[in-house]
């Protein structure tokens, strides 16, 4: 028998110590350094490997930039399971036909990406020319996957299972939803699913009281996958980390996600947007995410963004932009009519714009700040109303 190798270790380093810092732009614009410990990283690597049953035979796609928390599953869960992680060159992500060929030649079994990358793969990857039977999991997260594209991708990869992975960078992943067959024509947004076994979720109102069953509220989570705090920002820690007695005199820490969710009758959580995306425009409270949901519900809308633009008088007003689904035509008048049927007049974005493409952040999310900045610097036009 071989002697155990002697591994040098730092006697002052324990699993609660800092392992890495991920910078997230957040929704407010100032980058925040999210500090993860060895424990939180490993806890998520384990839960992902367990949930999806990764083994040494798996070959995982890895194309998230290092600063994006999708990369932690690609690097840590694969290592934990003894799987192979295949780093996808940037050029392949830009050229979906090359990416599809790479999936085939590398015999990838797990794809994990933002919905936008998977949508490009579906629309431009010439998937019907490739043998992609090696793929057994398609995982996605970071932002909502438009249901009609998800359904089409499921039809194109009939041998794969699909899962929505949800969790802010501060807590890695905390819920998942294994996608069942999606009925044709069912375009309602998909849920974020149910919490992992070792995760407690609470849905609370503005006074931190539990909401009634089926009511939307802010999601608070208690999980071993949680960050230690924000790098050099105790002020942000105080807001994002909420200590509460759990038993006896002992307290534990919950993370305020800032995400609004609702628990459906079947226990699945639905994502209802960001809490801090509520703006007050001319005295009216407007949930920008709710406005986007209504915009996106028009059958011809591919993607939608609603954003607040400052006025000269210090107030804000809501503007909007949409891209149109391939093969559809959409006029602004038709879109306005659709919005007027569901939204109060003050919440209808004006001006509304049809764009060829949405500006995107480095992590592939719609860049609403870039849209707002673009409008702020645009020449002022006479208001026609």
């Amino acid at each position: 028998m071989q002697a155990h190798p002697i591994v040098a270790h730092d006697p002052d380093l324990v699993e609660m110590d800092l392992a890495y810092v991920l910078y997230t732009s957040g929704s407010t614009g100032t980058p925040k350094g999210v500090m993860h410990s060895h424990r939180s990283a490993l806890a998520f690597a384990r839960v992902a490997a367990d949930t999806y049953g990764f083994t040494g035979d798996d070959r995982m796609s890895n194309h998230a930039p290092l600063h994006f928390d999708l990369s932690t599953m690609d690097y840590f869960s694969s290592a934990l399971a003894g799987a192979t992680t295949v780093i996808i060159p940037d050029a392949h992500t830009r050229l979906p036909a090359s990416y599809a060929t790479l999936i085939e030649t590398e015999r990838l079994t797990v794809l994990y990406a933002v919905p936008l990358a998977l949508t490009h793969l579906l629309l431009h990857g010439a998937l019907e020319k490739r043998d992609l039977s090696s793929v057994r999991w398609v995982l996605f997260g970071g932002e909502p996957f438009p249901t009609h594209h998800l359904r089409a991708l499921m039809a194109a990869l009939p041998g794969a299972r699909f899962s929505n992975v949800y969790g802010p960078t501060e807590v890695n992943g905390v819920t998942s939803w294994i996608v069942p067959p999606l009925a044709a024509g069912e375009d309602a947004p998909i849920p974020i699913g149910q919490p992992y076994a070792n995760v407690e979720t609470r849905i609370v109102d503005a006074a931190d009281q539990a909401v009634a069953d089926g009511e939307p509220g802010e999601l608070l989570v208690r999980t071993p996958t949680m960050m230690r705090g924000y790098w050099g920002r105790p002020d942000l820690d105080a807001r994002a980390l909420w200590s509460r007695p759990v038993f006896g005199h002992l307290s534990d820490t919950y993370h305020r996600t800032g995400d609004l969710v609702r628990r459906r009758a079947d226990g699945m959580l639905e994502f209802h947007g960001r809490k801090d995306r509520q703006v007050k425009a001319r005295g009216y409270r407007i949930e920008l995410d709710e406005v986007e949901v209504v915009m996106g519900a028009h059958a011809s809308v591919e993607s939608a963004a609603a954003f607040a633009v400052p006025d000269e008088d210090g107030s804000v007003h809501v503007e909007g932009a949409v891209t149109v689904r391939a093969g559809h035509t959409l006029t602004l008048a038709a879109l306005r009519e659709h919005l007027a049927a569901a939204l109060p007049r003050y919440a209808i974005p004006e001006p509304l714009e049809l764009l060829d493409a949405m500006p995107r952040t480095s992590t592939g999310k719609i860049d609403r700040r870039a849209l707002a900045r673009r409008r702020e610097t645009a020449p002022r036009h006479k208001d026609s109303t």
Partner: protein
């Protein structure tokens, strides 16, 4: 172009659309690959093979 980060996936699609209109050559999705689009010379060689004038 691809290596320099000049093109993202959306501008690749716009470029393909432009090429199709200018040259009257249909570029099928499976041909929009790194080998064919890595540089201007590569695009030119690809289009020549496809019979563009």
């Amino acid at each position: 172009m691809l290596g320099s980060g000049l093109l993202d996936s959306l501008s690749v699609m716009s470029l393909v659309h432009y090429i199709e209109q200018e040259t009257n050559v249909a570029v099928p999705a499976e041909d929009v690959t790194i080998e064919h689009f890595v540089s201007l010379a590569a695009i030119e060689a690809y289009l020549a093979r496809r019979g563009a004038r």
